[in-house]
Symmetry: none
Subunit: 225 residues, 2 copies
DNA sequence: GCAGCAACGGGATTTTATCCCGGAGGCAGA
DNA sequence: TCTGCCTCCGGGATAAAATCCCGTTGCTGC
């Protein structure tokens, strides 16, 4: 490797930052030149250090990593940003790429994954954690500016309206509430739900929620806190 | 230092574990001999490796770090456990020490704090993160058994039968199935459910599932695979 | 124009939930 | 022992929701 890539670490947990630093210290290709614990700090450091890479946590105390990413990308077009998150919800991933992130890795991954991602991203290529559905990744690549659609064996069979209804059901909204939200009759919502369940071969509300969780339509981790 | 202290790391984020490992590798006093990502795994490794120290994350996918700590302390009286958490809530800290933890550090702390804690704990002394109020520490020592049952405000109100029914509901079983399983009338199951919802102030099946997920009655992570 | 599909919703029926009721049995205290 | 209290159990009446089958509208492609 010609020269080390400079890295800025942004995460609100100092311990995690230290860990990452130690980890990257063991790899000759990267050099951690700075770290930040808040979004504000991240922006200042990024502007000052102009790093090649930024490892960005999604959740920061003062603002979302999404916003920070957007800001940094606006300032430094050469700097590549790698998103690190606890969540694998499709919305987050989509958003991250839309604001200019080049990589996305979940914290559940092994460290090799992180290194791999950094190497890929430093070459300017996109990287999406392989533990995320391949379909998701594919769509993200293809869609470009558009919002990524989720495809699944069954989910693709649903019409857009049905997908919309399904999200609301999965989020736990009652039939009536969904009807109000969409300005349609509760009866229609029920019909949509029936169709959804037939197409996906589901037989209860709970199965639907699990299915949605598997696809990343909803983030069940949020329930735990 | 006479010889290295063996350390077992328990955290559900591989990246965080790697980071800790790298961090501790830079200190001659400790040697990471194993790691675990779940409570179950932690117990097995602890029994197998009999480490001097355990660095334990509070939140694990399958069960609480509190439970794991209790179990390990029951098995290995020589092993000291250091709690690592994102939360500085008094409840957690209290509980951690009550089940046999010897140290408590929040993830917001710097890495020096962690090392300091490990050194202190390995000598068998108690360590509480200085960023936590002194009052907290004081209260901890005094309170003893008093605040023992923190489990949950509402869940304790349920009778054992109701708790049993609640589990089954949370697992997604239909009313009818639950009735069959418990050899009672569907009507009775419905009555139990009504009582449960009243006592816990829940208003839909989904809320119940979320509540159950929060308490750890069910493992929503299993849905994702 | 017509076939096909999506979105919408009605009517009749069945299933489920809700609210209120009471009985059997265990258990603690007077 | 008797009395009150609570749990567990289930019934009956009623309200709500789901289910099944039906038709209308409107758009699209041939």
């Amino acid at each position: 490797m010609s020269k080390k890539k400079t890295v800025l670490i942004v995460d609100d947990h100092p311990l995690f930052r230290e860990g990452l630093k130690s980890l990257l210290a063991g790899h000759s290709g990267f050099e951690v030149v700075g770290e930040a614990g808040t979004g504000r700090e991240a922006l200042l450091k990024a502007e000052e250090l102009r790093p090649d890479l930024v490892v960005m946590d999604l959740s920061l105390p003062d603002q979302s990593g999404i916003d920070v990413t957007r800001s940094i990308r606006g300032l430094l077009s050469e700097t590549r940003i790698m998103m690190l998150s606890m969540h694998s919800k499709i919305d987050y991933i989509t958003e991250a790429f839309q604001v200019g992130a080049t990589g996305y890795v979940v914290k559940e991954s092994a460290s090799e994954r992180l290194i791999e991602c950094l190497e890929t991203v430093s070459r300017g290529e996109y990287f999406i954690d392989a533990s995320l559905s391949h379909q998701v990744a594919k769509n993200l690549m293809e869609s470009g500016e558009k919002a990524a659609k989720i495809t699944d064996a069954g989910y693709g069979l649903l019409t857009s309206r049905e997908q919309q209804v399904m999200r609301l059901i999965a989020e736990g909204l009652a039939t009536k509430k969904i009807a109000e939200k969409l300005f349609i009759s509760p009866k229609t919502v029920e019909n949509h739900r029936t169709n959804i369940m037939n197409k996906l071969d589901l037989h209860s509300a709970m199965e639907l929620v699990r299915y949605a969780a598997k696809l990343g339509l909803i983030d069940v981790d949020l329930w735990k806190s």
